[in-house]
Every structure is written in C-alpha cells, then in structure tokens.
C-alpha cells in the first residue's frame, strides 16, 4: 500500500512548514486543465450548471469524449457546442474528456 506512506510525507512536510511544488506536473494533466478551463463559463463551476445549460458534472470521460466528437461531426445536434468542438483535435478532446470526467 502506497497511500499511507504518501500521507505521511504530506503531513511531515505540512508540519515542517515546507512549501512543496510538484514540479513535474504531468503534461497531460496541465493541458487538459487549461483546455477545459472555459467550460465552466457556460456549464457552471465544477460542471454544475445553475441554469438552462446542461450540467457536465458526473459524466464519465468516455461519455464526454463521445459527446464532444459527435458535436464536432454534427452527428449530435447543438446550438453552439458544434462550433466549439470543431476547435479541438482528437487528442485534445481526449484530454478535455479525461479532465472533466473527474468532476463528480
């Protein structure tokens, strides 16, 4: 089990007042985050929409990937999502879907 060991590391670092920078921030994680940053502007904070626009929280990465690809191809009809989805490559759609798929 790895978890308890890491928890200990964090606790020790926190107690020591040390600032930790996880400097290898996974490239995909970062790109996924920055590519997804604008989604909340329409779909709400954490993908939880307070109004008429469909929420995206709680969807799996696979569901999101298929939806984005279908918006992009026009297979799935939309008002504005098709216009957005056309701005992203397969790889970028996968990164976005993986990132947003973590929203509960």
């Amino acid at each position: 089990m790895q978890r308890p060991i890491h928890t200990l590391i964090i606790t020790a670092a926190t107690l020591a007042g040390v600032v930790i920078y996880p400097a290898t921030a996974d490239e995909a994680l970062n790109r996924g985050a920055i590519l997804s940053a604008s989604c909340a502007s329409c779909h709400g904070p954490e993908g939880r929409s307070p109004g008429a626009i469909p929420a995206i929280a709680g969807k799996t990465a696979e569901d999101l990937r298929v939806m984005l690809e279908d918006f992009r191809s026009g297979k799935r009809r939309s008002t504005v999502m098709g216009r957005h989805a056309k701005g992203y490559s397969d790889e970028e759609i996968q990164l976005i879907a993986t990132h947003l798929g973590k929203q509960k």
Binding site: V19, Y21, A23, T24, I34, S38, A40, C42, H84, K86
Partner: protein
C-alpha cells in the same frame, strides 16, 4: 524531491480529492508560509476570475483583490435590464464568496499608482501593497472630449450606460419618461470597444420595451463603422420582431457622430443633418482603465500590449494586464474573454511562481445576444496562442445559423440566461 516522488504526490492528491478537480496541479503550503504574493486590481470578469482561480490552483499563494466598489454590476445583461426583463439586482454581484470561501483578501479601495521597480501599489486611502506579481484588470475608461461636447457631465443627460450601474438606471429612467412616438438615438463607436455586439443588442432590448409601451417610437443607431458584430442575425431579428422600428446608419452614410449638444439634445454627424432625440445613448470611444494609463502600461491607442501566452505586460515585467484593457485581438473585449484570460493568467502566474512549465494556452469565447426575450443569437470562437500571438482556430466558432428555426432561437435565448447564471457563479460564487 525527485521526479518520481513528485508524480506520486500529484496522483495521491488527485485520488484523495484534496484538491478541486479543476486545479491544474496542487501546491501545498504549511505553517502559513506563502508561495508568493499576488495583487489584483479590479474585481470584474477578468480580475475576480483570476483571483478565484489562483487560489484554487495554488492555495499557497496570497491573493489580494483591490476593487473600488463594494459590488460589481455587470455589463452583460444590463441591456436586458434596459428592456425591462430583469432588475438591477439580477446583474449585481458581491465579493463575499471570494473573501469567505476562496481565501481572497478583498480591499475596497482605488489603486492610485504602481511602482514597477519597487513592486508596490499605492492605494488612495494611503496604504501600500507589495507584490511578487501584479494583475491589472481595470476594464475601460472613456475618451472624454473625443466627441465634441461629450464629457462626464454630459453623460448625465446623454448616458453612455457602458459601465453598468447608475448609468444603466439613468438610461432606463429616460426611456420610461419619453413620449410614445419619440426618437431614441444610440451612437456606437468604432473598433475596438467593449462588447462589440452590445450596441445592437441594446437597440433590440430597447425596441422590446418600446414595442409594448410606446409602439410609435423609433430607434436610430448612428454608427462610426460600416458593419458590426452578428449583423445579418441582428438585422434578420429586427425585421421579424420590430419591423420598421430600428434604423441603422453606417459611417459611410453619415453615422459617425463628431459633436453633441446636450442642451438641445442633438447629435452632429461628420456629414449630413443634425438629429435630435428624446433619449440619446452616447457610447463614446474607449481606452484601458485609468490605472493602466497612470502606470504607463498602455500604448498609443490607449490599450495595453501583452505577451498573449501569459498576459504579462509588454512594458513591465511581473505585471499582467487582462480583460478589456489588454490588446488580445482576435479575442473581443467581452466578459467571457476576460474570464478566459483570467484563468490562463492565473495558470501562468502559478507556473512562474513555482518554477513550472506553462502549458500551451487555450482560450475561448461565446457571446450571446438577446434580440427578444425568446430570440437569442450567439457568436463563438476557440483560440490558441503561440509565439506569434493569439489566433482563432480555423473551422471552429462563428455565428448562429441564419436559417435557424424559432426553436433554435428560443433555445439560444434560454442558454443566454443560463450562460449568465453559470459564468457569474464561476466568477463570484
């Protein structure tokens, strides 16, 4: 720390749910030690977004937001207030959540000067803030005097209503007081200016009000340009909803206003006859907000050049300019764009303060306009930024289809409201 340990650290934090899933990466501080001090001037779409997202991405960073007002009244949906669809409370937002839930220090004061060498900001109440990174998000100011006779005093009689709040209410009051059969003049500036579709949405929302309350009235749009944002969609919508009520006068037909006379309520175009109005909404030429001018961040045109990958000023290191004040074209000067820039700027500051590599930036924009309460239209774009600056992704974005049916227009009208609720919750919630 070695590479592999850091990787595991990220995975652990992610799986433990200790950090929001929106965070680009976790940075943990203990013992009150700060990973840096960021001061943000301006609590609008750009500045408030940047403050909140900096705290989410990097909770160890100390973030201080300096905002003149105790609340923020948005320009988005202020046209719907003019049209009588909402009241001013609907578009007024407060800083409680930023302060209480997100750990942003909010100071209600005006930034008077910036010392880029000493890295300090002087506030008008007398105190001085020091920063490692400074974000300037001041929005717009007006070029008073650019139109002869139009200064701040004149804006009481001829409201610009291009900063929402008392000016919005003043314009609404004038619309309520004008007679049936009266003339409303909207004077639109040349590019660039805040909210490119705004004057035309405003004409639509005022027409919506007049159609019910004063149906014999007319709206004249005097324009300093020969075309405008979403023009085919607006013109189609006006024909459908307000036939004969709105007339657009382009620059080439004498649309550019060079002078006004407040006493006689008259506008003078560069050529052609003067025109009197019962209500005159004068939207003057604009420039970056005052603090950007005072600090020397703005260039000749009045706007602030930046590195469009990070929004760091082209003039001063460690100072970032976002939102309407920045030169970010092809991105429009919109609230959505400012918020998108605020997120990228927050990421780049967090990366810089922690010695990380900034990922390739990506921006987007969606601007909804209400032609009527059940008639919405939109323009969208996706952007990337490389060494050559921001570019629109080809094949993406564009305006709503011209041949859309009423169900489509109605859906976009309800999505316009949904967008407003989402983005304001994302920023001030």
């Amino acid at each position: 720390m070695r590479h592999s340990t850091r990787r595991h650290f990220i995975e652990l934090i992610g799986s433990a749910g200790a950090v929001s899933s929106m965070a680009a990466w976790p940075i943990v501080a203990g013992g009150g030690q700060s990973a840096g001090r960021v001061v943000i001037i301006g609590g609008g779409f750009g500045g408030a977004t940047c403050a909140k997202y900096l705290r989410r991405i990097a909770p160890a960073i100390t973030v201080t937001l300096v905002e003149r007002e105790s609340s923020f009244v948005t320009c988005p949906f202020s046209n719907a207030v003019l049209g009588g669809l909402y009241d001013i409370d609907f578009i007024t937002h407060h800083y409680d959540a930023l302060r209480d839930a997100h750990g942003v220090e909010v100071i209600q004061d005006r930034a008077s000067t910036i010392d880029p060498a000493a890295k300090t900001v002087a506030l008008s109440a007398g105190s001085t803030l020091t920063y490692d990174k400074l974000v300037v998000s001041p929005g717009i100011d007006f070029q008073w005097g650019a139109i002869d006779g139009y200064d701040e005093a004149a804006s009481e009689q001829m409201p610009h209503a291009w900063k929402a709040g008392p000016q919005t209410l003043q314009l609404r009051k004038q619309l309520e007081a004008m007679p049936n059969g009266g003339v409303v003049i909207i004077a639109a500036p040349r590019n660039p200016f805040r909210c490119p579709p705004g004057p035309y949405e405003r004409a639509s929302m005022i027409a919506h009000y007049l159609k019910q309350a004063k149906p014999r009235s007319k709206i004249l749009i005097y324009d300093a340009k020969d075309t405008f944002s979403k023009r085919p969609l607006f013109e189609q919508g006006w024909k459908a909803l307000y036939p004969g009520m709105i007339e657009w006068i382009p620059e080439s037909e004498g649309g550019a206003i060079e002078a006004v006379d407040v006493r006689s309520m008259t506008v003078h175009p560069t050529f052609g006859d003067p025109q009197t109005g019962d209500v005159i909404n004068m939207i003057p030429p604009q420039k970056a907000g005052a603090i950007a001018q005072v600090a020397g961040l703005a260039g000749d045109g009045g706007w602030c050049a930046v590195d469009q990958r990070t929004f760091e000023s082209a003039v001063h290191k460690d100072i970032y300019v976002i939102g309407d004040a920045a030169v970010a074209n092809p991105m429009p000067k919109s609230g959505f764009a400012a918020s998108s820039q605020g997120k990228v700027c927050a990421t780049s500051i967090a990366a810089s303060l922690s010695g990380l590599e900034m990922p390739e930036p990506s921006y987007s924009n969606t601007c909804y306009s209400l032609v009527g309460p059940d008639y919405g239209i939109s323009v969208a774009a996706v952007y990337r930024a490389g060494a050559e600056g921001i570019v629109s992704v080809e094949g993406a974005g564009g305006i709503s289809p011209k041949d859309a049916d009423t169900a489509f227009r109605s859906a976009e009208a309800s999505y316009a409201v949904g967008w407003y609720q989402s983005i304001t919750a994302d920023i001030w919630g």
